[in-house]
């Protein structure tokens, strides 16, 4: 039964133009970045490596497909939460607003079944969106720029990874990023359970992301203890896979925090959905 429900939810997602608007926007952005970097990427790279090149010469193909993939992931993973929230924040509240939720719940299917099918459909959309970014960034990057070692700039130094050592890190980083984006989708579905309009959950999700990011970036002692517990602190944990050596303990901690957020928010969402009054 849950397969039918999931199938129905996937049809609903694919039937909405906004689902493809996000994909189209991402495609356009990635292509634009790649073309711009192909035309004038070297000067951008030289601007960044200038502090190092005062004393040292960096030889080799710095601007390659691996670096392009990393740059694109870094740029887009800040904005993807909004695209994810556009779809997942609408899954329950959108139907409540249209009045179709009442009809849906008259089916001989438990509320939990409907909730989880919506949740899984949202998760699947999130995963596919991320996968599309990875394929486009990696494939297009390698096609246009070729392969090579990956130079990663951190605020306190640089890490240079050899070309053969990158693909497994990229795969692991994508899994880590999936976890972060699933937290966003879970949060927006959680808000969606409380709302009867589409905009509320999307705005609330982005509001929480912005608030937590601000709290996390403010170097105030009172936030020192809160910061590690905020999911936004661990949104960029995918970058840790590109450190050398890989800080497995930090990655595990970030993963635990994100999974805890997913479990708690999904549980609270289910609890609310089971008790939701359908008034529309």
């Amino acid at each position: 039964m849950w397969r039918n429900s999931l199938y129905n939810e996937l049809i609903k997602i694919t039937a909405r133009p906004r689902s493809f608007l996000g994909v189209a926007a991402i495609t356009l952005i990635i292509v634009l970045i790649q073309v711009a970097m192909k035309m004038d990427g070297l000067s951008y790279i030289q601007f960044i490596t200038a502090p190092i090149e005062q004393n040292l010469i960096i030889e080799g193909n710095i601007l390659n497909g691996n670096l392009m993939t990393f740059i694109i992931l870094q740029m887009l993973l800040i904005h993807i939460p909004l695209l994810v929230a556009f779809i997942t924040g609408d899954l329950i509240s959108g139907e409540a607003a249209m009045g179709t939720l009442r009809i849906l719940l008259t089916k001989p299917v438990s509320r939990a079944n409907i909730y989880w099918s919506k949740y899984l459909a949202g998760a699947l959309y999130t995963i596919l969106l991320l996968l599309w970014i990875a394929i486009l960034a990696w494939g297009g990057g390698h096609l246009l720029f070729g392969t090579g070692d990956l130079i990663i700039l951190n605020s306190d130094g640089i890490v240079i990874l050899q070309a053969h050592d990158i693909f497994w890190r990229l795969s692991a980083a994508l899994l880590q990023a999936t976890l972060a984006l699933l937290t966003i989708s879970t949060l927006s579905i959680f808000f969606s359970c409380f709302a009867d309009n589409s905009i509320g959950p999307i705005v609330s999700t982005m509001g929480v992301v912005i608030l937590f990011t601000l709290v996390g970036s403010l170097d105030v002692p009172i936030f020192t203890y809160i910061r590690p517990l905020l999911f936004t602190t661990h949104m960029a944990a995918w970058r840790l896979w590109f450190n050398d050596p890989v800080p497995y303990a930090d990655i595990a901690f970030s993963s635990v925090i994100l999974v805890l957020h997913i479990i708690i928010l999904a549980g609270l969402g289910l609890w609310k959905f089971n008790r939701k009054d359908i008034l529309s």
Binding site: L56, G60, D149, T233
Partner: protein
């Protein structure tokens, strides 16, 4: 008699070489000029406090007078100054004044220390100091002070190509400023790590280049 003994004792270091600093430099010039072109395989091991990378293989090509290329499939980092600078400086005989600085023991060899002061103050190299093995006529250590990059010192170890003054191993000691890039540029916005207090070791590093399989053209 005593004065004569003192004079002899003082002159022993110079007498043991049997050649002046100018002669050593002239012989070194001849060695450098003898090699018109060479290619060599290099293994570059970069150990700088702000760079984490594995050793990289590369190919180095040198052609007189000033063609110097490093070709690498991966990303390689080499010092901006000090690699081919000695050759460039030495080959131009009228461009500097040789100032003898006495002797010093290095790698178990009693080297002749000379300072090279460029005759024109418009060049990149401000002053160069060389520790030269007077028997093999090779540079065992160099210390170049350049206009834009401060002082770079290098230690040389020779093998079969000592006859051509081409080293098997070069170790560059590099002083770097504390590397810092704004978080907005690097993207690690959520990194909550506090900056560590700077220590002297944060600004000192080395790049060691192992050279093998020379193909030399005279």
């Amino acid at each position: 008699m005593k004065i004569l003994l003192y004079a002899i004792t003082l002159c022993i270091p110079f007498m043991s070489f049997g050649q002046s600093s100018d002669e050593v430099i002239t012989k070194l010039q001849a060695k450098f000029k003898k090699v018109k072109e060479y290619t060599v395989k290099a293994q570059i091991d970069t150990r700088l406090p702000f760079i984490k990378m594995l050793p990289v293989s590369a190919q180095i090509l040198y052609k007189q007078p000033d063609v110097f290329k490093v070709e690498s499939k991966g990303i390689a980092i080499i010092p901006r100054q000090g690699f081919d600078q000695i050759g460039k400086l030495i080959n131009n005989s009228g461009a500097f004044t040789v100032v003898p600085q006495g002797t010093a023991e290095l790698q178990g060899v009693l080297t002749q220390v000379v300072t090279l002061i460029p005759n024109q103050d418009t060049g990149e190299v401000l002053v160069g100091k060389l520790w030269i093995d007077p028997v093999k006529i090779v540079v065992l250590k160099s210390q170049l002070t350049t206009r834009s990059n401060g002082t770079v010192s290098a230690d040389f170890v020779y093998g079969t190509q000592a006859v051509n003054a081409l080293p098997d191993k070069i170790t560059f000691s590099i002083d770097t400023k504390k590397f810092k890039i704004p978080k907005a540029m690097t993207g690690d916005m959520n990194s909550s790590a506090r900056p560590k207090p700077e220590t002297p070791s944060d600004t000192k590093g080395s790049i060691t280049i192992y050279l093998s399989n020379y193909i030399v053209k005279y």
